[in-house]
Amino acid sequence: MPSIIIHQEKATDPQALLSLCPFGAIELVGGKLAITSGCRMCRNCLKRGNGVFELVEDQSAGVDKSAWRGLAVIAEVEEGTIHPVTFELLGKAKELAAKISQPVYALLLGTGVKKLAPVLTEYGADEVHVYDQEELRYFRIEPYTAAAEDFISKVKPTAILVGGTPAGRSLAPRLAARFRTGLTADCTKLDISKTTDLDQIRPAYGGNIMAHINTPRHRPQFATVRYKIFSIPPKCPNPAARIVNATIPPEKLASGLEILQAEVKERVRGIEDAEVIVAAGRGFRKPEDLALLQELADLLDGRLASTRALVEAGWTDARQQIGLSGRTVKPKLIITCGVSGAIQFVAGMNGAEKIIAINTDPEAPIFNIAHIGIIGDLYKIVPELIASIKQSRKED
């Protein structure tokens, strides 16, 4: 990416040049002109700056990686509590940071969130940077980006992990574009090399293939990871950890968004939290037959989930969908019934501890990942299984 250099000696009236930038990215720092990372490369200043600003092309080997140190996790706060994906990411960040002997940072944004900082240290953060400001009450993109940008510019972490939640998937790309750097979405594995290059593995092209992705010449490196991909580490006191309270001026937190109403949704126990899941696929012939699987789910104290096809057919709710465009689940047990195992589905459930698949087609790809592959008709197996479970409970 190109950058803009400033010929200070040509600036006869530096103050007047500030207004050239529609994004306010030209600032006076100690009497000298400077371009902040708010620059969008619109090049207005090149055309109208009388030669003060010059574009230079960057064809070098990239950034000085030693200037970027540590792994940062952007904490996700929901209704006054930390979303567990944050703890999962802190666990992974700690593991990676140990390999390169660098610190773990957590960034905490919100209103009234200061009290949540200590718990982040217990899950692995060496330093928690807190921006507790009224403007950050709701997730609005510009103030959240501005606060995170402030943190990143000051701390310069080499890699930033963000939860693959709706807010994280909105904030991470915005930041990656602001820093003109790489972002890898929905990583399923992460490692780090001695050069601090993050090794990012994600399913690609519909998941027929896994891709190993690097960001070799840019910093910071952004990765998003969905909930339940990594495990929550054990809690552990970290007495050496620091909590840094930061603020940025309210005018930098301006937003084109005004929240008119925040309606709390009815809380539905999601499939993400279930320890046992039974999943239905196209092997079901009609929607009424799903009652059979619901009965099995109830007997196992589990939840009923499905593939995308059934959601699209209107047989199940979108909240029950497992897969790349649905939910990622990591139950102790999943029993798939009549699911062929398209890779988009598999990507959302192959973290399950035990996978049992029932399908009539011996060639179904689900059998490639199932621990127990049962070739047979779910319409025969499931009722028998239900009967056996009921019988055993009667005997007890």
């Binding site: 190109p2 915005r174 602001r178 972002l183 090794d199 709390v264 104290d301 465009s325 598999v346 990942i369």
Partner: protein
């Protein structure tokens, strides 16, 4: 209201070929269609136009044959179509794609509202909309599930977040990404197909962009690099039960019992 909708041509199937050298998707010879999520974006634009008037521009990036999705958009009611197509744009990652689109959108003139689909079915990253908004310096709202209305300076929408439904007024110009199901997409119309048969699809090449440095586009402009591609994991200890169903059901019952999955309600 001047609305621009970003659309993409995606493979009609998930069975696609990868260039083993570069790890880049081979698109030639694969049946293609409009990304299904983009239909909702386009439908949203059409509804807004019905209510407030104005003009709908669609823009896409891809090889020349991606003109087909622009034509499809014409058949649904889009007014103008642009295709960013240049060899130099190939192999772009999220950053380079978003940057290219931002340059292309600047080249097509001013707009009030940009609409993107939730995600594509091939890349599945759902990140281009937010990066594009950043490059254009406008606010964005993702996961929009409802449009309440617009006036000269703002749009009011509801955003579907995990715990909340947030209703917000956004200053124009802005970018929204819409959820599947926000409106039911209309079918392409035969009448519009004949009426728009002669309407051109404007091709935008690198030379047409304000920033025409090839290093900022395609593979060169992509910070992320695919180092290696490999097949997905297969699980290690696997067994297959292919006996009669009654026998499998009985084995499954005992497996669940042995592994303590039956005791909770017992």
């Amino acid at each position: 209201m001047r609305i621009t909708v970003c659309i993409k041509q995606v493979p009609g199937t998930s069975q696609v070929e990868i260039d083993p050298e570069t790890g880049v998707l081979k698109r030639d010879g694969v049946e293609s269609k409009m990304n299904p999520f983009d239909l909702y974006a386009l439908e949203t634009a059409l509804r807004l136009k019905q209510q407030y008037g104005g003009e709908i521009t669609v823009i896409s990036m891809g090889p020349p044959q991606a003109q087909a999705v622009i034509r499809e958009a014409y058949m649904m009611g889009a007014d103008r179509g642009f295709l960013l197509s240049d060899r130099q744009f190939g192999g772009a990652d999220v950053l380079a794609t978003s940057y290219t689109l931002s340059q292309g959108i600047r080249a097509t003139g001013p707009f009030d509202l940009l609409i993107c689909g939730k995600q594509t079915t091939d890349g599945d990253t759902a990140q281009v909309g937010a990066e594009l908004a950043e490059f254009l310096g406008i606010p964005h709202v993702t996961n929009v599930c409802q449009i309440h209305g617009a006036d000269a300076t703002s749009l009011t929408v509801t955003q579907d977040m995990p715990l909340h439904r947030l209703t917000a007024r956004i200053a124009l110009p802005c970018l929204i990404t819409v959820e599947k199901g926000i409106f039911e997409p209309r079918l392409p119309s035969y009448k519009l197909m004949t009426a728009t048969a002669d309407r051109p699809v404007s091709i935008i090449t690198l030379a047409d962009l304000a920033d025409n440095n090839p290093l900022h586009y395609g593979l060169n402009g992509s910070p992320t690099q695919v180092k290696r591609i490999f097949p997905p994991d297969k699980s290690d200890s696997q067994e297959r039960w292919d006996g009669p169903e009654a026998e499998s059901a009985d084995r499954l019952f005992h497996f669940l019992d042995d592994h303590k999955f039956l005791q909770k309600l017992g």
